[in-house]
Amino acid sequence: MLTYLVRRVLIIIPTLFVTSALIFTVMSLSPSDYFTNLAAEMAAQGEKVDTGRIAFLKKEYGFDKPPVERYFLWVGGMLHGDFGYSFEYQLPVKDIVGDRVVLTMLLSFTTIVFTWLVAFPIGIYSATHQYSWGDYGLTTLGLLGLAIPHFLLALVFMYFANLWFGLSIGGLMDPRYFDKPMSWAKFVSVLSHLWIPVIIIGTAGTGSMIRAVRANLLEELQKQYVTTARAKGLHPFKVLMKYPFRMSLNFFISDIGSILPAIISGGELVAIVLSLQTTGPLLIRALQSQDMYLAGSFLMFLATLTVVGVLVSDVALAFLDPRIRMQGGATK
């Protein structure tokens, strides 16, 4: 088990190294860069950006150095916590992302909890009442949530929330609480805005989770040990919860790997439509304007979270499920 763990941890290093090289290469491949992009946007309004100025800025940010050198500067910086400098915000990347991460995590945790709260009961019900009207009805509902594009739902919700409840359009709080320290009023304002993105992002997740819970549970329910337990007169609910349900949770733990990055990046598209102060729109904007280090460091962060998430879920699975642990041992 220990060697397994060490090997898994060590393999992270080359994985991340390759990822960083890939990210940097793809972003350097673009024929233009942030500065020419900026010049284009300014020219669109009639503003002047002379070429001398652009050359000056490029030099200022080290763009006159060869890409290989810039790559190592970037990676080297990241190793000691310097994620580079954002051209657009004129600030170290750290300072920009920091504020938004908290709100993003709040949103994502709430969404995940919402998804579970809705999906598990429905999934269990569908599995135990397979092919009943309830199963069909709830499954249709779940699939509908999966099928309707997020951004469309977001627009509709936003419109009616403004019309009926007078909520400000978009955002995670009323504009007057922006950049204010946390207070009870601000918290209430956040809560009153939070439910919209939570429901919207949650619906899709709910749909797929219902199906997953249902399928896993159905498989277990047909197994002999369930029949045996029932035959021995155990209470049906206890049978369900104690054995097949726990078994069906495996998929759920292996899913942690994808949940971790989703917590940070969750629902970019919805976040853009709803103008949320989360990290998603920041990343998209950085990619659009070719704000290289902001986008690059962000992607690296997501990559790291994915790798760590996969590791955590693998380890957790090994701990939780003796079969996986035993198999691991047997191969040695």
Binding site: S32, T36, D50, K59, D95
Partner: protein, 651 residues
């Protein structure tokens, strides 16, 4: 000879050609601008508490000794009440510069009749466009209370514009006449002088521009970042703390005046930023030392704070409709008009329509530098460009897309400009498919295939993609109609949109043959404006970006001009830069406009399109009808937002 600048230029403008023949150098002393007697200054309620506590000097000491008195009655506006907050919606942090553009305090500004008037300056003497003497206002202070003096100009000239580290390519091109820098002199603490050997007619327009030429900087603040003045160890500490490479980078970042990101940077604008980025809302507070007041003795601006909320730009129309902005135009499009108008019943605002200042809302630009040799030959043939223009039914486009509210015109100046002549707008902008077909036949494109599409000399079908930037969906709608019009000429057109950056790259590399983009930027110039849009000067002019890049890079990059008509435009532009009289400038403008429209270098469709402007019903002094353009006018700037005021809240 000493003349008050405002009067001189007003005279130029009004008297027109008759006066102009005398030459600019012989300007007679004009009567001084009639300034109404200002009442004794009244303390602003916003600062009353701070003044009472002694934290801020009283208003009489904060204003310069000779403030700029804004005569609102003469402007047919009302004297207002100080207070209130102006909420505006913006797309991202880069839009911070919109505050500098909107608030429009400049050394010299344009008034709403497009005359130059001294603003931050008390007065300016101009001798033959060669010697400019700038007089500052006595007692004028930066927003932190430090005096604004000749030292701030000297610091910029000696320690910024001519510093190898801060300006490696030397002073700004607008400060060069015939390639040579001026002699700079400090006459006394309130007077500076710039002397050029050759005329520099571009100097004043550059000072008054929406994106101004800054020739001063808050020296007392910035010296702490300059090793010439600062303590070495302290500066090294600052550089380290800011995570930048050296002092130059720090100076550059802390000293940006156009994009006011640094709340500590003193300013002369009516509002100063108080929020350190990154933020979702930027709060601007009134500058306690602003140099304008009204006739009743109120220090301007009337509005206490400006709250700029950042949001996804595509959500801004929806947010505006829900009453989240008090004065908003940016990110609102004509297609939002009915939506905005409909919300007037629910929310307390009005939607006004202002005229946009582009030479053309959308123009089709034939890329004279495209790579494909056959197409290049075609688009360089003036008959082909004329045929394309004659083949567009502008009337239908106007009716279908702009409800008939736009003006069908070639890409040229608007009727509001004193340089306008109807023949520029009418040049090849009538719908005449027969003439267009005849022109195309005459070029040798007389063979057609079975679909009726003309064939190029090498047998290819005459098929072309018109590329556009993705941000404006109206371009796509216009292209739908143009495509069907051109089909009648035997030209198959397709339209394609891409991200602005890629759009631009493809034009620069010559892959694009035709593009659709806005027409000339400044549709309402006077002869004193540089004719920047009519000659290839920059690579962002998409009909000849190769030529533009060539001139911009002094011949190192791009494509050398090999078309006599284009070379003529460049020569005329250079002549304007050397011109000494307003008559010359007007003549040059006329020649350039005439050549540009006759040659159809860009195919204009409609101009005078409408910009929706949402104005809160509580906000006063905002014009009902006006021109909305970046240049001239700085969008709202020319209408002086510091004189806009809110109804006080009902108690």
């Amino acid at each position: 000879m000493k003349v008050v600048l405002a009067c001189l230029l007003a005279l130029w403008f009004a008297a027109g050609l008759a006066r102009a023949d005398e030459g600019a150098g012989s300007a007679a002393a004009a009567p001084p601008e009639t300034v109404p007697a200002a009442a004794a200054p009244v303390e602003t309620p916003f600062f009353a508490a701070a003044v009472a506590k002694g934290k801020l000097p009283p208003v009489a000491e904060r204003l310069p000794k000779d403030p700029r008195v804004v005569d609102l009655a003469a402007m047919k506006r009302e004297v207002g009440v100080p207070g209130g907050a102006w909420r505006m919606l913006m797309g991202d942090q880069r839009d911070l510069r919109m505050m500098t553009i909107y608030s429009y305090a400049r050394l010299v500004t344009l008034n709403d009749k497009l005359d130059f008037v001294p603003d931050i300056l008390a007065s300016l003497d101009n001798q033959d466009d060669k010697v400019f003497t700038l007089h500052l206002r006595d007692g004028h202070k930066w927003s932190d209370g430090q005096p604004f003096t000749a030292e701030d100009f000297r610091y910029y000239w000696d320690d910024v514009a001519n510093d190898k580290r801060l300006s490696p390519s030397g002073p700004d091109p607008a400060l060069l006449a015939n390639g040579k820098p001026p002699k700079f002199e400090v006459i006394d603490p309130l007077t500076v002088r710039y002397t050029w050997a050759d005329p520099n007619p571009g100097f004043l327009p550059a000072l008054a521009a929406a994106q101004p030429l800054y020739i001063f900087m808050p020296a007392h603040y910035l010296k702490q970042f300059n090793p010439k003045y600062a303590d070495k160890d302290k500066l090294a500490g600052l550089v380290k703390a800011a995570h930048v490479m050296d002092w130059g980078a720090l100076h550059e970042r802390r000293g940006r005046q156009y994009r006011p990101e640094n709340p500590k940077l003193p300013t002369l604008e009516p509002w100063r930023n108080t929020t350190k980025p990154p933020a979702e809302e930027f709060i601007f507070e009134r500058n306690p030392y602003f140099h304008r007041d009204d006739t009743a003795g109120h220090q301007l601006p009337y509005i206490d704070t400006v709250r700029m909320v950042l949001s996804t730009s595509s959500l801004i129309p929806a947010k505006t409709v829900s009453g989240e902005a008090d004065l908003q135009a940016r990110y609102l499009n004509f297609e939002d008009y009915t939506f905005l108008k409909g919300a007037e019943r629910i929310h307390d605002f009005q939607t006004r329509l202002w005229e946009q200042g582009f030479g053309s809302y959308a123009a089709i630009l034939p890329n004279l530098n495209c790579k494909d040799p056959d197409w290049r030959k075609l688009v360089r043939d003036v008959r082909f460009r004329r045929a394309l223009s004659l083949g567009i039914n502008r009337h239908d486009i106007n009716q279908v897309i702009f409800f008939g509210l736009a003006r069908e015109s070639a890409d040229t100046v608007l009727p509001q400009s004193p340089l306008y002549k109807p023949e520029y707008a009418a040049a090849y902008s009538n719908y005449d498919p027969a003439a267009a077909n005849a022109l195309l036949d005459a070029i040798g494109l007389d063979k057609r295939d079975k679909d009726g599409v003309r064939l190029m000399p090498d047998g290819r079908r005459l098929e072309v993609t018109v590329e556009g930037p993705g941000q404006d969906t109206t371009y796509g709608d216009i292209m739908e109609l143009v495509t069907s019009d051109w089909a009648k000429l035997g030209i198959r057109a397709f339209s394609h949109t891409s991200h602005l950056d890629i759009f631009r790259q493809r034009i620069l590399s010559g892959d694009t043959v035709l593009s659709i983009y806005q027409g000339i930027d400044n549709g309402v110039p006077t002869a004193e404006f540089e004719p920047l849009d009519l000659a290839p000067l920059r690579d962002s002019q998409y009909q000849w970006s190769g030529f533009g890049l060539n001139l911009e890079s002094a011949g190192h990059q791009g494509i050398k001009i090999d078309m006599p008509e284009v070379q003529r435009l460049v020569d005329l532009y250079r002549e304007w830069r050397r011109s000494e009289t307003i008559a010359d400038q007007r003549r040059i403008w006329g020649e350039m406009l005439s050549l540009y429209s006759q040659q159809v270098f860009s195919i204009g469709i409609v101009n005078g399109t409408q910009q929706p402007v949402v104005v809160s019903n509580r906000l006063h002094n905002v014009p009902e009808k006006a021109l909305f353009s970046f240049e001239p006018g700085s969008y709202f700037g020319i209408y002086m937002p510091d004189t806009f005021w809110f109804d006080p809240p009902k108690s």
